[in-house]
């Protein structure tokens, strides 16, 4: 202990007196504590010195990004990739997401949430949370599409070695058409070691595209038969190259691919048609009940659809962060809201106008305008954002040329379910029986003890509720705004009239076939002309068969 020079003379003197022992004990304890503390601090301090050195290097790397010229930024990205800093991927990803920014004091930060006025940020070097900063204090390090491409490829190369299979698959997908001479060798090595066949197949294609770009004719063989669009781009490019041998081989490969594509295109068009048709059926099926079965011309039908869509939005507002659950809950909620609105319309207006179609048309048209403006004033004239849940976005990849968009597939399925449910109600339930009885012969039905007024209300509520369901589904495909309903009202009437008034099967067949016809015509006639042709076709058809595809037979038809 005497080896240590001690700067407290008072204590050294006190060592001679009785208290000496105690003081010594106290000092020993203190010293031991200090030593322990030193032991604790020292290694981190050394580490800190190393960190500081690493951070200076890192700062230099990041500072190179903070330039105006995009090519210079590209070089800076290359430098980061080459640096082997373990934060490289984090920086590149932040840069890719537009989250890497520079604060006014020169620090590099990563923005955690960039909505609203003030954004929470963390330090890009050590991940330390720095609280909130305003847009004014931050300068974004901008990138363009070329750099985004470069970043994605750089990240994909890193991810190729990741343990996560999905990550590896995504990055192999990403690297198609992005392989350059530098990457060729490491990728060939990865192919040898990769366990997953899909990753291997993708990387082999990617490598073959690179070899094709280098002018190797043999590469065409590997690419043959692939339907991927990037392969086609590469082959098309090769087909116009100066090397006649390569050009001929590539052209041949393109031709055989085209052959194969034609079948896929046919299937794709059919799917597009069915999906458009399902939207038409969904929008029209409620009308098939109110107009078709009850004979009420309800111009506010579109607005009932709109109410359903707004219900979906409202549910998502009530359940933030759970768009999927909100969407599922919106199905019964949308039905109820639209059905209640339908009852209000029926009780408030339509029941007084029974048997006067023209007045009903005008009155319900007025209601539709009132509902639209109500939404504009009460909610907003702007469209509302309805979030598509994760499981509904993207597409189901059948093969490289044919992928079916998921949101439309769900809507198609939903339409069929709704249709089947409606058929069940109309055919198998007491309500369905009563509805059919009242519409076929109102007086007779009443004399049999059926309460016709109650049946009217129930039927109208059912038709309106189904319109609400259509709104829930449409919120996933189109804008949720005050004008939503207007876009579908004409189409809905068209489908119901074409299918045969009063016939649910007719509505289904009419909707689906109009959808398919429209999508077949569209590629060569254009969207505007295709619509006109379909309309003219329906007019001619109705001239020939005024009762539509499936006319009602028997005495009901005369009623």
């Amino acid at each position: 202990m005497r080896n240590f020079p001690w700067p407290w003379p008072t204590l050294a003197e006190a060592g001679r007196c009785r208290a000496q022992w105690w003081a010594r004990r106290w000092l020993q304890a203190l010293l031991a504590g200090l030593l322990a503390l030193l032991m604790l601090i020292l290694p981190p301090a050394i580490a800190h010195a190393q960190d500081a050195e690493r951070d200076t290097a890192a700062l230099e790397l990041l500072e190179a990004l903070d330039v105006d010229s995009f090519p210079a930024k590209g070089e800076a990205i290359d430098a980061i990739v080459a640096s082997e800093d373990d934060r490289a991927r984090y920086w590149l990803q932040s840069l890719l997401d537009g989250r890497l920014q520079r604060a006014d004091d020169g620090r590099f930060v990563v923005v955690l949430d960039n909505t609203g006025r003030d954004w929470p940020v963390e330090d890009a070097l050590n991940g330390e949370a720095l609280g909130e900063m305003s847009r004014r204090e931050l300068d974004r390090i901008g990138i363009n599409n070329a750099l985004r491409n470069q970043l994605r490829s750089a990240i994909a190369v890193v991810d190729l070695y990741a343990a996560d299979l999905e990550l590896r698959r995504a990055s192999a997908e990403r690297l198609l058409g992005e392989v350059d001479s530098e990457l060729a060798e490491p990728i060939a090595a990865v192919i040898d070691e990769e366990a997953d066949s899909r990753v291997r197949q993708r990387l082999t294609l990617a490598l073959a595209i690179h070899r094709l770009e280098q002018g190797e004719v043999e590469a065409v063989e590997t690419l043959q038969g692939s339907l991927h669009s990037r392969v086609r781009v590469a082959l098309n490019r090769a087909a116009s190259s100066d090397d006649p041998l390569l050009a001929a081989a590539a052209q041949e490969a393109v031709n055989s691919i085209e052959q194969n594509l034609r079948i896929n295109r046919g299937l794709e068009t059919l799917y597009f048609g069915l999906s458009l048709g399902s939207v038409l059926v969904l929008a029209a099926i409620g009308l098939a009940i109110t107009f078709g079965v009850m004979g009420v011309i309800n111009m506010a039908h579109g607005e009932l659809i709109m109410l359903g869509a707004y219900t979906t939005w409202a549910m998502q507002q009530l359940l933030p962060g759970q768009p999927g659950l909100a969407l599922i809950l919106a199905i019964p909620a949308g039905f109820m809201v639209a059905a209640l609105a339908g009852i209000a319309i029926e009780r408030g207006v339509i029941q007084f106008l029974k048997g006067r179609p023209l007045e009903t048309l005008l009155a319900t048209f007025g209601i539709s305008l009132i509902l639209q403006q109500l939404v504009r004033t009460a909610i907003s004239p702007q469209n509302r954002t309805v979030v598509t849940p994760e499981w509904m976005s993207g597409s189901l990849v059948v093969n490289d040329a044919l992928s079916l968009t998921l949101n439309r597939m769900y809507v198609l399925g939903f339409t069929l379910v709704v249709f089947a449910a409606l058929m069940l109600i109309m055919r198998r339930t007491r309500l369905g029986l009563e509805v059919r009885a009242v519409t076929q012969n109102r007086a007779m039905a009443r004399s049999m003890g059926i309460r016709a007024t109650r049946v009217d209300i129930m039927t109208f509520a059912l038709g309106s509720g189904v319109a609400g369901l259509a709104g829930v589904a449409l919120s996933q495909l189109t804008n949720v705004g005050p004008n939503l309903g207007q876009n579908y009202i004409i189409d809905s009437f068209m489908v119901v009239v074409f299918g045969g008034v009063g016939n649910l099967w007719g509505t289904l067949v009419a909707g689906l076939s109009l959808g398919v016809i429209n999508q077949i015509l569209e590629p060569w006639a254009g969207a505007v002309l295709a619509k006109i042709i379909v309309l003219v076709f329906i007019i001619l058809f109705i001239q020939k068969r005024p009762r539509g595809l499936f006319p009602q037979k028997g005495r009901a038809a005369e009623g």
């Binding site: 997401d97 939207v279 954002t385 597409s395 005050p482 004008n483 505007v528 619509k531």
Partner: protein, 445 residues
């Protein structure tokens, strides 16, 4: 209101205008008589989605001006009417503003067709209209000030960017089927062929109806068109609501901005509020202003707007900036002229220069268009645009396109000796209506 209009004889009209003149003259003697600012934006109907924010913008600017003591010592007062997205109603409301309310200036309109509808009213009653939206050009009226972009301030620089910086060789021109996209695409088609020698088969033109919502086939076509070897881009003049399903379909079919970028002329921050933009990152838009512009003026404007609307998530967009510039230009011209008299303001405003929100200045040109910088932005995951390119200096708006036969020789100059909106430089005469008709006939072809 219809009956007196039907019986308006020219003499009665003059009498009414004289009466109106003496009334305003008398009004000016009173210092506390307010200056009336008319706002002619749809608050209901289809266009309400875009136009209501512009009404709010002008009201905010008026409020700010009043806080600074008004103009010429007088308060400003907003007179708001609702033309309900109904084009003939625009003309009626404009007449109401000018003849009954006797407003000193009007800020309004969005669609070209509504502007065409009110044009005769403003010329007849000698009003002032500030029109804040990018449009197809081929027009210059004595009574209208175009604070939005002309084609040479938006579409041409955007196409140049794609060609020079991105290396695009194939073009899809997709638009909604009405006058602005059709004219813009005609100009662009001529420009692409003349300037870059683009072949016919490398241009695909597609029109869709208003509010089109089924984009499956078109997006699939675009994908196919883009996989034939040459770098492809889509130039979109798709309007309003139809953009949301279009972009959703792009995302679902996996059209990536790195492969086929879409550059839009009608999609701004406002339109993107209805979409999840994560799959759209990298698609482009060309405007003269973006909310993400990094200047103090812009941040002040955004803060004022957020405070005014009380909505933390409120966004600003290009037409709002155009109203900001137009309003300040008008105020400056009134100060310069010392009166709100329409003819005096019309003369005073030419050459007036005010700061814009992008860190530069906007000047009113003799053809009633203004100077603007052109910015190209890429969509970010938060619904904002990141500026990737901009013109080195501001570009002056050209009323008559240089790439269309029939309008090539026309210029507009509303200064004292010429005072003509369609002066033909090859014949050396003010074309009157014939040259404009020729140009329109050429467009209609």
């Amino acid at each position: 209101m219809n009956a007196p209009k039907a019986s308006f004889t020219p003499r009665r009209l003059i009498a009414a205008m004289l009466a109106a003149g003496t009334l305003t003259g008398a009004g000016q003697a009173l210092a506390d008589d307010p200056i009336k600012v008319g706002i002619l934006h749809s608050l209901s109907g289809t266009m309400a989605i875009s136009e209501t924010v512009l009404k709010d913008t002008v009201e905010m600017l008026i409020e700010q001006q009043n806080e600074q003591g008004g103009l010429l010592g007088r308060e400003l007062e907003a007179v708001v009417v609702d033309p309900a997205s109904n084009w003939p109603l625009f003309a009626e409301r404009a007449r109401e503003l000018l003849a009954q309310e006797e407003v000193d200036v009007v800020f309004g309109n969005w669609t070209s067709v509504s502007r065409k509808a009110v044009l005769p009213v403003f010329e007849e009653l000698n009003g002032l209209l500030f029109y804040p939206v990018q449009y197809e050009g081929e027009e210059s009226s004595e009574n209208v000030f175009y604070t939005g972009a002309a084609p040479n301030q938006q579409s041409i620089p955007a196409v140049n960017y794609l060609h020079d910086q991105v290396g695009v060789e194939r073009w899809v021109l997709a638009g909604t089927d009405y006058v602005f996209p059709r004219t813009t695409n005609r100009i662009l088609e001529a420009y692409l062929k003349d300037e870059f020698g683009v072949a016919d088969e490398d241009i695909m033109i597609n029109y869709t109806p208003f509010g089109h919502s089924d984009w499956q086939n078109i997006v699939s076509d675009i994908r196919r068109f883009g996989s034939e070897g040459k770098k492809t881009a889509v130039v979109s003049t798709i309007n309003g609501d139809a953009n949301v399903p279009f972009y959703t379909e792009l995302a679902n079919q996996g059209v990536d901005a790195a492969d086929i970028p879409v550059v839009a002329f009608s999609v701004g921050e406002q339109e993107l509020t209805g979409i999840d933009t994560a799959p759209l990152v990298g698609h482009l838009a060309a405007w003269n202003y973006f909310m993400s512009v990094d200047t103090d003026e812009n941040y002040d404007f955004i803060d004022a707007w957020i405070d005014y609307t009380g909505d933390e998530e409120a966004v600003t967009n290009d037409p709002m900036e155009a109203h900001y510039i137009g309003f300040n230009m008008w105020a400056e011209a009134v100060r310069k002229a010392g009166t709100t008299d329409v003819d005096a303001v019309k003369d005073a405003i030419i050459g007036v220069t005010v700061p814009n929100l992008t860190g530069g200045y906007a000047a009113m040109m003799p053809n009633h268009h203004i100077t603007k910088p052109v910015l190209i932005g890429e969509i970010q995951d938060n619904g904002q645009f990141d500026i990737v390119w901009q013109t080195p200096s501001t570009v002056a708006g050209d009323a008559w396109s240089d790439y269309l036969p029939g309008s090539r020789d026309l210029i507009a100059d509303w200064r004292a000796p010429m005072r003509c909106g369609n002066f033909n430089v090859s014949t050396g005469s003010c074309g009157g209506s014939t040259a404009a008709e020729e140009a329109e006939a050429a467009l209609a072809e």
